[in-house]
């Protein structure tokens, strides 16, 4: 199956294969730094020539850097819309970059865990992603890239506002750290609202699976810091660490309660999900995510011996539209995709030994 992927994207989802701490609740940890070059208009308002200037300055600088010169560069204007969507589904680029406007470049570390987006809304967005609860590690990774890259560039900075960004919401550190959580316990016990109310005053935001403006589905939630100015980077990371730690505890408690008080009904929802996944002929992305969310809860309870969290995370990306089109070679209309998605899922969930 994987032979069909073009060489350059072969490993774009490999970060999912590593197992990280607290994976029963934390799917992935991400961090990004927003950076700009002084004086040149921000990418949101720059003219073509100015965007080109930024792209050239960055390219020239990167060529001479020991680590970043080994990154692969992808010109998003040059590749197909399908390829862009594929990279977005893999969390390598943002929705803004998916548009594929001219002079939009992404530099990707060969293992796809770190990428540098050029001419997003800011001139540079350095971002990293790892599986599980490893915020400090992913933050340190992008900080190293930042030090190598930005110390050699004319960075837009003021002593009062810190790193200057296109939108004032990113001022200061330019740092956004976020964690993708799977919270079926809190969702099934109707405690998501409580959780959101509890954590919001501490300065964090809750979003859906694909970040800003994306919807909640399959009980996946993205939590990130709201404030980037006035705190040190370490304080921001520590805030997230403690908030997430408390959510993990709540989620674990909720799961305990569920499997004590409502074991028959919770087992029923998990096995019904399994039934649908192993038999259905048409499944859209949202339904698939919802069902896989139930399976993920089952994995945590040891119901599906041949599946693990990493495999399931990969599957959640694998059933996204562009991934299906790429891997399964299905037609780009939505019914063909739903057929292909159902077939892929049946193949996995009817495999001998996929249950105990």
């Amino acid at each position: 199956m994987r032979e069909d992927i073009p060489e350059k994207y072969r490993q774009s989802d490999d970060w999912l294969d590593e197992t990280g701490p607290d994976q029963h609740v934390v799917v992935s940890s991400r961090a990004r730094l927003a950076r700009n070059l002084s004086k040149i208009p921000f990418a949101t308002h720059a003219r073509k020539e100015e965007l080109e200037e930024v792209a050239k300055i960055v390219q020239k600088t990167i060529k001479n850097l020991p680590t970043i010169s080994l990154f692969n560069s992808i010109d998003l204007h040059e590749i197909s819309a399908l390829e862009r969507r594929y990279l977005k589904e893999s969390h390598i680029i943002s929705a803004e970059m998916e548009k594929g406007d001219i002079h939009r470049i992404v530099y990707v570390r060969p293992d796809y865990r770190i990428s540098i987006m050029v001419n997003e809304e800011d001139h540079l967005r350095i971002q990293g992603i790892v599986s599980g609860f490893r915020l400090s590690e992913v933050f340190q990774d992008i900080l190293n890239i930042d030090m190598e890259l930005m110390d050699t560039l004319p960075t837009a900075f003021s002593d009062q506002y810190g790193y200057l960004t296109a939108c004032p919401t990113n001022l200061g550190t330019g740092l956004r750290v976020s964690v993708m959580l799977h919270l079926p316990g809190l969702a099934l016990t109707r405690k998501i609202e409580d959780m959101v109310q509890m954590i919001q005053p501490s300065g964090v935001t809750v979003r859906g699976f694909y970040g800003e403006n994306s919807e909640y589905f399959g009980d996946f939630f993205q939590i990130s810091n709201e404030i980037s100015l006035g705190k040190t980077e370490e304080e921001i990371v520590n805030l997230l660490l403690s908030v997430i730690r408390s959510i993990i505890e709540r989620e674990e408690k909720a799961r305990e309660t569920l499997f004590l008080d409502r074991v028959a009904s919770i087992e029923d929802t998990i096995w019904r999900a399994y039934g649908l996944l192993s038999q259905a002929r048409l499944i859209d992305t949202q339904e698939a995510m919802k069902l896989l969310s139930r399976i993920r809860l089952g994995i945590d309870r040891g119901y599906f011996k041949t599946l693990d969290h990493a495999r399931l995370s990969r599957l959640m990306i694998g059933i996204q539209p562009a991934h299906l089109e790429y891997h399964e070679k299905c037609d780009p209309d939505s019914e063909a995709r739903d057929v292909s998605r159902a077939a892929l899922l049946r193949n996995i969930f009817t495999m001998p030994g996929s249950t105990n």
Partner: protein, 184 residues
């Protein structure tokens, strides 16, 4: 302990704040004077009087700066209020566009629109002072600035505690650093 207020023995116009004790041929003379009259008699009081004026000035400046930074952007509090016809001198970005999109044009916009942005930034982040990492090129400068801020806070503290010797030391330090700052 309560000290009864006394009028200056020399000018009889203002309250005496200084007590000067002179010992002339074994006899103790106590004089209750106002700061101005005292500085005419005693060289030490003259020095103190000047220092007090300096400190007042520095404190007034400090307060003015802080007040100014809070009060100035009142214009943005009511968005319907007057149109601001300001355009960035570096990139030509008009301030009115920021009000529509919440995006700025370039790094210089933050300088040009400074007083109109301050309130928004405070609303978003709850404060307006970066405390995080600093890029290599700015490190020396920011370190100096951050030192200055600490010294100014210490100075206010010293004045509040009427520790004038410490205050004078701090004043001189701030002046020398400020001079170095403006040279850069």
């Amino acid at each position: 302990m309560y000290i009864k207020p006394v009028v200056c023995m020399k000018c009889s116009k203002t309250l005496a704040t200084v007590k000067i004790t002179k010992i002339i041929s074994g006899e103790v003379h106590e004089m209750h004077l106002c700061q101005d009259c005292a500085s005419l008699i005693s060289p030490y009081q003259k020095k103190m009087s000047n220092l007090q004026k300096d400190l007042n000035e520095i404190l007034a400046n400090l307060l003015k700066q802080e007040k100014g930074s809070v009060a100035a952007p009142a214009a943005t509090e009511d968005p319907k209020e007057e149109k601001i016809d300001l355009v960035c001198s570096n990139c030509g970005f008009p301030f009115e566009s920021y009000r529509k999109s919440f995006f700025l044009g370039c790094s210089d916009c933050y300088k040009v629109f400074h007083k109109y942005l301050m309130n928004d930034i405070r609303k978003i982040h709850g404060n307006v002072r970066h405390r995080g990492r600093v890029p290599q090129r700015f490190r020396k400068y920011v370190e100096l600035k951050r030192n200055l801020d600490t010294l100014k806070r210490d100075l206010q503290e010293a004045v509040r505690e009427e520790n004038f010797e410490r205050a004078a030391e701090l004043r001189d330090l701030i002046r020398s650093l400020d001079a170095g700052d403006s040279k850069e």
